[in-house]
Amino acid sequence: MELLNLNIPSWSDLAYWRPEAILCGTFLAALLGDLIGRGRRPAISFVISVFGLITAGAYSVAAVLHGGAAHTIMGDLIIVDGMAAFFRLLFILAGLATVLFSWTAEEIMGRKRENKAEFFYLTVLMTAAMMVMAEARDLLMLFLSMEAVGLVSYVMAGYMRTSLRSTEASLKYVIFGAVSSGIMLYGLSLLYGMTGAMTFDGIRAGLLAGEVNGLSLLITVILILAGMSYKIAAVPFHFWCPDVYEGAPTPVAAIFSVGPKAAGFALMIRFFYTTLAAGADPSASAPLIELINWPLLMAVIAAVTMTYGNLVALRQLNVKRMLAYSSISHVGYLLMGFVLLTDAGLAAILFYLAVYTLMNLGAFFVVVALNNHIKSEELDDYAGIGFRAPWLGTMMVIFLASLTGVPPFAGFAGKFYVFTAVMDRQWFWLAILAALNSVVGLYYYFRVVKAMFLTRPAEGADTTPLKIHWLQYTVLAVLAVPTLVLGFWFGPLKVLADQAIGLLSTGM
């Protein structure tokens, strides 16, 4: 029978895919719980979501401890390997932190909200979709997973549906998403036309076998980069980023700033590493990279992205917008790891992403906690707030210092590895530019610190201490402690990142 020639998925595939399957089940169960509670009992969905995320996390940890080779499952569409395991843990951490923190966030759980539970199970679904993004090894799954993350994001951005700004953010996100997906699809179709293959391995083989025209490969790569740059908000596809972060509820902005970005990077790493990079066999495909002058292309994108993000962040008076532009500049630093498509550079990206997830989530969560009380994200309203909530202020200082990249915080270790990766191959101008950019970052990050601790509040302003929920302190501590510790004890995470990339290259 001809049908059997296809690689049809079987039940045994699920053995390697437990975290994803659990999260999909959690999503359905939490949705059902919401419906049973008639939309008035968000606690049901919250408990189910937290439980599901923890279970999925436990299975992911077990999979990491088990180690093991890469497994190609679901009819060759998905690969579960070391890198997938790394990102699973990252996404579950981000999802779980967001769900837990949002339970006490006024913007999500405020009295007027009518769809509170939806936030929790949408976050779960997004986590599952992001995990698939890190596992896709086929053009179809690449596009499908990106759209899955996108669709959930559009709904979450418009979560406050009675707020004009939130709906505006959602609409902007949808339109930008549709356009960039279209551009990327065009690139993917060209790639399929050139190689006749859908899997990344097949594309690589096709590119190496046929006589590839440098110009058409360059155009294809740029078109595909357009779609991915949108996901990670790299210049010139960053326009949606500040508006969406400002309009969406802050917990949503928090997960947007780490989750889909990390997933976009995971996808880029797997796609470009598999199709273009030298990988384990350096002689084979280095010509592909040189053919399109990949290092220069990525170096320019990285340089423009980090400089633009930093310079515009200088002018922001709204902390959320400032963090949005700062996240754009961090994308620039991260892209530096892509310039040479070497194992060292990609491992540096993974390390930086893990650190970035911790510190950026933390900074956004502090904004959420403050927003619960002062109902504002304007810098002026942060005056003297450090004395009303000393612990919160201290944690904000930790996160911002780490975002700046000052030793001994984790951000420094992250930047160190990325910078080393480019300096190893004599890209000094890029490293110097990035170092200068970090200095610019110092100014706008510490302006927030200055407002919190050194500026006097306006006359007659409220100076009573703020009551911060214990759950918020717990989540923030869980994020702040590694941000501190990873600054001087980064060995284990580095080993994990190296292993993830090492398994990526041997897994093929």
């Binding site: 700004r165 293959a197 008076l317």
Partner: protein
């Protein structure tokens, strides 16, 4: 490498395939241009107001077509998609299911896959039902509640001037 070409076709490479597309596009443009140019050359040019009115069955338009449609229409459209997608997937599934059923493991797998799919879709239906999207008459929502004042640094100076006058 999994090259996929239609049966019996010759592999002429991507440029070959797209050359066909290009020729189609060019011929298309050519036909349209010829029709327009020939008509322009042959027809008499004598417009008058009666001639320029809407032709036969067309209504005279009133107002702009840029009006707001009630969002409920979109909800109904989405609701329709739930069943539409269901049928689209059920139909090919039903066609191959007969052949797959005798196979030991695969038949069961394919059956339960469709059951899971249907359960997910019916959850979607339950969702719109419980959330009240099947009710045609809805209560109005107060839009203003979530709007913090937008502070634009560029507008600040303008409002200050107004305040001082």
């Amino acid at each position: 490498m999994d090259t996929m070409l239609p049966m019996g076709s010759v592999d002429v490479g991507m440029n070959g395939h797209f050359a066909t597309v290009l020729i189609f596009v060019l011929i298309g443009f050519f036909f349209a241009a010829v029709a327009l140019i020939v008509a322009k050359l042959l027809r008499p040019h004598d417009p008058n107001p009666t001639k320029l009115t809407t032709y036969e069955c067309g209504e005279e338009t009133r107002g702009s077509s840029w009006i707001r449609f009630n969002v409920r229409f979109y909800l109904v459209a989405l609701f329709f998609i739930v069943f539409d997608v269901e049928v689209i997937f059920l139909y090919p599934w039903a066609v191959v299911f007969k052949h797959l059923l005798p196979l030991p493991e695969l038949g069961v797998l394919v059956f339960w896959e469709m059951v899971i799919f249907l359960v997910i879709l019916s959850l979607g239906l339950a969702y719109i039902w419980v959330k009240g999207d099947l009710d045609w008459v809805k209560k109005l929502v107060d839009r203003a509640e979530d709007e913090p004042p937008r502070r634009n640094p560029l507008l600040k100076s303008v409002t200050n001037e107004e305040g001082s006058q």
